[in-house]
Every structure is written in C-alpha cells, then in structure tokens.
Subunit: 122 residues, 2 copies
DNA sequence: TCCCTGTTATAGTTTTATTATAACAGAGAG
DNA sequence: CTCTCTGTTATAATAAAACTATAACAGGGA
C-alpha cells in the first residue's frame, strides 16, 4: 500500500489519505480483512503527524471502510450498506455532471469515461 | 435564481454558492449572457458578506463559468474548453466510483443514476 | 516486564473562511 | 458635473479547521 501525499495540494492531508486508501481497496491492492499500517507507522511512512493519520482512519471507520480495533489496528472491512452510499454517490455525481453538462460534455462521453475508470475496479 | 445556503453545512459558503450557480446554469434556470445579481445584492439576498460572494464569483470566473466585468457584473459565459473539464471530471469520478465500487454498487446502477441525473440538464 | 496497539488530552501553529470597514475607479443616468 | 451603481483592492479582526508536538493511559501479545 504505497501512499503518496502532495503537500502542495489544497486538499487536506487526511482527505488525501482517505481517498488513496479507498482507491487501494477498490483496486484490490488491499483486501478485505487485511490491516493497514499502525497510525504511527503510517505517519512515519508518509511523513506526517500521527494524529493526521488517526483522523483519516476514523473518517474511514465512520464511512464504513475500516474497522479499527486495538489489537489488529485498522482492518479493511467494508460495510456494504447501499442506501447511504447511493445517496452520497448521487450528491457527488449531481455537481460533477452539472459541470460536465455546462462544458458540453455529452452523456455518452460520461458513460464511456465511467466504463474506462471502472476497468481498474473489480 | 434562488439560492439557499446551509449555514450548518461543513461545506464552505463560497463553495455552496459556486455549486448552486453551476447547477442553475446546467438546469438552464439562468442562461448564457444573463447576469447574476451584483456581489452586494447577492450578499444581502443570501445573508452573507460581500467578499464571500466575490470569492465565489471569482472562482467561477477562474473555472470558466462566468465573465465578470465592471459594467454588467457577473455574466454567465461558459468557456467550453473540454480538455481541462474532462480531466477534472475524471478526477471527480475516479474517487466517487471507487467508493461506489467498494460498496458493491454495480456499473449498471451507476449508468442508470447518471441518466436519471442528466434528465434535469439539457 | 517490555513493546506494540489505539485512544485521549493539551497546547501551539498555520491556514482558510468569513466578516467588517473603507476607499478607489469606471460607467451610466439625471 | 453629480449621484449612484458596478467590480476591485486593502486592511484588519474573528472563527474555525488542519496540522503538529508531547505526553500519557489502557489493553493485548511475546
């Protein structure tokens, strides 16, 4: 699980961590039941403070991607509760598609892009 | 152009403004060439400071949704430059679809959701 | 006992968002 | 010309969020 932080980005470090871990799960680079590095190890690995990693792990726990316990650390355990996931997806897509629509990106182009991106997830 | 700000939201006010204006353009509620209220008028209308509105207008200008001039104010003028728009769309979709994939939302469900959302944009 | 784990607490710094005033220059209307 | 509207700029203050720095605690495993 290689994680790269862009310290120049306007995106918060803990958000970058969350996103890259979610990407790692989607791409099957880290599998259900496996553990992430401890907060201290991950912090040292990417060069940030322990609390920043802890915040990321807790957000992921809150969003149902991890299960944290004292013994095994942050374990990938995805809660497949679809209702809220769908609601969130719709919210994200609504604004992204509005921008695309303004820029004359066709619905077909969007569908094609979706398929292209989904190739990496299975 | 009715705009509603959720002051409880964790989303920044200027971002809410940007998103709602983009939605307004996508939904054809405000058309190319039309003007938005002046920064002062909009600020009073939604109950925030002038500078917050000014920031939103400038972000939208930067992103190619508005053209601001001293006489006519913030005019809807969408720069249809597709390359950067596509790049940004891909970035947005990449993380949204990763989350969806983790939650076992199928590609077909995503396509259906896209079509549903796009119904409002034409 | 020692070491690793997550967790909590406290404090300080930095950055961002927001507000508050104020002023300036350009354009249009009277 | 004067008045009033526009966006723009400057300055300052406040509030919140993000990040870091130390430190300590409790639980589990070797």
């Amino acid at each position: 699980m290689y994680i790269e932080i862009d310290f120049e980005s306007s995106e918060a470090i803990y958000e970058q961590l969350c996103n890259q871990i979610i990407l790692g799960i989607a791409k099957n680079m880290i599998r259900e039941g496996e553990s992430l590095p401890s907060v201290r190890a991950m912090a040292e690995q990417v060069g940030v403070n322990m609390h920043t990693v802890n915040k990321a792990y807790n957000v992921l726990k809150e969003d149902g991607f991890l299960s944290v316990d004292r013994r095994r650390g942050a374990v990938v355990y995805v809660d497949k509760e679809k209702i809220t996931a769908l609601r969130e997806l719709k919210r994200d897509l609504t604004i992204a598609l509005a921008k695309a629509s303004c820029k004359n990106i066709s619905r077909a182009e969007v569908h094609a892009l979706i398929d292209e991106i989904c190739e990496d997830y299975k």
